[in-house]
């Protein structure tokens, strides 16, 4: 029962995506092409975020802590 409602909700969500992004008026092969391209772009964004964001955060943290550390050594 719950699974059916979840599936209904997702199919409604997919319908909303289709009418907002003009996919509802495209032919099926164009829809598949558009969905493929969009999913590829999203996958690439997710992968890049997964690989690079922790490294960038660590580098930024080190950079700022070095500045604060520099201040504190001057103060000393």
């Amino acid at each position: 029962m719950d699974l059916r409602r979840v599936k209904e909700y997702f199919s409604w969500l997919y319908y909303q995506y289709q009418i907002i992004s003009c996919c509802a008026v495209l032919e099926p092969w164009e829809q598949s092409m558009f969905n493929t391209i969009l999913l590829t772009i999203i996958a690439m964004v997710v992968y890049t975020a997964y690989v690079f964001i922790p490294i960038h955060i660590r580098l930024a943290w080190e950079f700022f802590s070095k500045i604060c550390g520099y201040h504190s050594t001057i103060a000393n």
């Binding site: 289709q18 003009c22 509802a24 008026v25 495209l26 558009f34």
Partner: protein, 534 residues
């Protein structure tokens, strides 16, 4: 935008109103309530994004068609013309080929009954994505009609009151086979013209066979080179065509905006014609009574004040407002309580509220006499057909009460009631509605092209309601809308059915963009729980 209007005195009395003493001032104490709400930002962004995706796919399909990978069903030039100036490369043809064709099944739907409150639609399907259609043979019966301009419900099947039309058909036949100047002026036309003049409370009127041609053929007869035409931004194509054909200089003012019009008038009077600085021969202001795409009513008192101050002429096209606006259906002049003699040219059509076809121009007797001689339509176009003239005579007598009943007046009042009810309920539901609260044409904004197609198909196939959706180029690109025409022959149950269907469709497609608070009146909602949206 709310505007307070100062009192206007009117010594004229139109039929059907309670008699007032001559000379007593008539106060227009209603506020003009119009709303043109803007869409939320995310809606506009999504709309442009959807058009962007559609354009990209359009380029892709054009590329495939050009290189022969896909069969081309659209219009192309012949092989011998390939090196000439291209015919089909501008944006409008691109839009038609790639965007309009995909959702084309929502327009030009054939119907097979009279356009009354309920009608029958022929079912058609397409096998190749709307390039060709075929009829399945089935008929979708009893579809609620929210698209026909049937404001007073006079465009319906034959009933006993139409007996006079049958008699006229027997005596006069169907065709006139001549123009007004030659042998085409019948006594029916004279009777009709006298009746129209009496209805509008003016000196004289002239009728023409076609409403569009009334505008496009008579404006060139009234103005010419050396004259100035100030026309509203959103005027109908017939007015624009007539203005261009006349050869006069055309300047456009912002829609219903009196400040913009005043600025143009001042510049015209101060600076005169462009190079020679001579005074303009005539300045003609072209407006419409009710604008059908926006649902707005013209701000007539302010425009009349401007007209008197700057000595210009006023031409009002009352195609959608005659018979539908005003306490007894006499049009915008009666709606504002003004004297129809103050407007120079009153034009209207018989297509919308009278269930016939054709147009009229009314005003002072010397104006109408001039048009009888000089109008292009009178010289070259066939005059109105006699059964249609009789239908208009019948409708006019019905509305004025000359047939002995008060049904005509009741219908006008029923239309006003239906309009206010429909608009109020739609605003409460949270849709964005444009226009004046008294205009019987109700545009409901849809914005996104995918939703436009889904809305029209869903309403016809699931809910059996026929609606008209409008997109580019009739409206701006980002403001696609559905346009409802409320009619006096819609009963309360029909309107409630339509409103319920709109409620469900609005929730399914998420169309309720309005940011105004909904009024909490429990008896109008059937639901038992109150959930505040967004």
């Amino acid at each position: 935008m709310e505007i307070d209007v100062v009192q206007w005195s009117s010594a004229e009395q139109s039929q059907g109103r309670e008699p007032k003493q001559n000379g007593k001032p008539h106060f227009y104490d209603k506020l003009i309530v119009e709303s043109f709400e803007e869409a939320p930002l995310h809606v506009v962004v999504f709309t442009y994004m959807a058009y962007g995706i559609g354009t990209l796919f359009g380029y892709l399909r054009d590329f495939l068609r050009n290189w022969g990978i896909e069969k081309c069903n659209a219009a192309v030039e012949r092989k011998e013309q390939k090196d000439f100036v291209p015919l089909y490369q501008d944006f409008e043809n691109f839009y038609t080929r790639n965007l309009y064709m995909r959702i084309r099944d929502n327009w030009n739907r054939p119907i097979c009954s009279a356009p009354g409150p309920l009608f029958d639609v022929m079912e058609r399907v397409s096998d190749d994505y709307n390039w060709t259609f075929r009829f399945t043979g089935r008929i979708i019966k009893d579809v609620i009609n929210m698209g026909s301009y049937n404001f007073l419900g006079l465009a319906d099947k034959y009933d006993e009151s139409m007996k006079t039309i049958k008699d006229v058909l027997e005596v006069y036949g169907t065709g006139v086979a001549s123009t007004r100047h030659e042998m085409g002026t019948l006594d029916k036309h004279k009777e009709l013209e006298d009746l129209v003049a009496k209805f509008l409370n003016v000196e004289a009127a002239m009728v023409f066979g076609m409403g569009f041609a009334t505008n496009s053929m008579n404006i060139p007869a009234l103005v010419g080179k050396g004259c100035l035409i100030l026309s509203d931004e959103l005027n109908h194509t017939s007015l624009v065509l007539g203005a261009r054909l006349s050869g006069a200089t055309i300047r456009v003012f912002k829609h219903n905006n009196t400040q913009s019009l005043e600025k143009l008038l001042r510049d015209a009077v101060i600076y005169g014609q462009p190079r020679t600085r001579r005074a303009w021969k005539k300045i003609l202001i072209l407006v419409e009574g009710t604008y059908s795409m926006e649902g707005s009513i013209v701000h007539l008192p302010q425009i009349l004040a401007l007209k008197k101050k700057y000595k210009a002429y006023l031409y009002i096209d009352e195609a959608h407002s005659i018979g539908a606006v005003g306490p007894t259906g006499r049009g915008v002049t009666e709606f504002f309580g003004l004297d129809p003699h103050e407007v120079d040219v009153l034009m209207g059509t018989f297509t919308k509220s009278f269930g016939a076809s054709g147009g009229y121009i009314a005003g002072r007797k010397d104006l109408v006499d001039y048009l009888r001689v000089h109008s292009h339509s009178a010289v070259y176009a066939t005059s109105m057909s006699p059964p249609i003239a009789e239908q208009i005579i019948r409708s006019l007598k019905f509305i004025m009460g000359l047939d002995g009943t008060t049904q005509g007046l009741q219908r006008v009042q029923q239309l006003a009631k239906n309009t206010r009810y429909f608009r109020q309920r739609l605003q409460e539901m949270g849709f964005i509605i444009y226009g004046n609260e008294n205009a019987s044409v109700v545009p409901l904004l849809l914005y996104m092209p995918g939703k436009v197609a889904a809305f029209a198909r869903h309403m016809l196939q699931e809910k059996k309601i026929g609606v008209v959706v409008v997109g580019f180029p009739a409206t701006p690109l980002a403001e696609a809308r559905a346009r409802f025409c409320v009619s006096a022959s819609h009963t309360r149950e029909m309107l409630d059915t339509v409103l319920e269907a709109l409620d469900e469709t609005g929730d399914l497609l998420r169309l309720k963009y309005s940011r105004h608070k909904k009024s909490a009146r429990p008896e109008l909602y059937d639901e038992t729980s109150f959930e505040l949206e967004d």
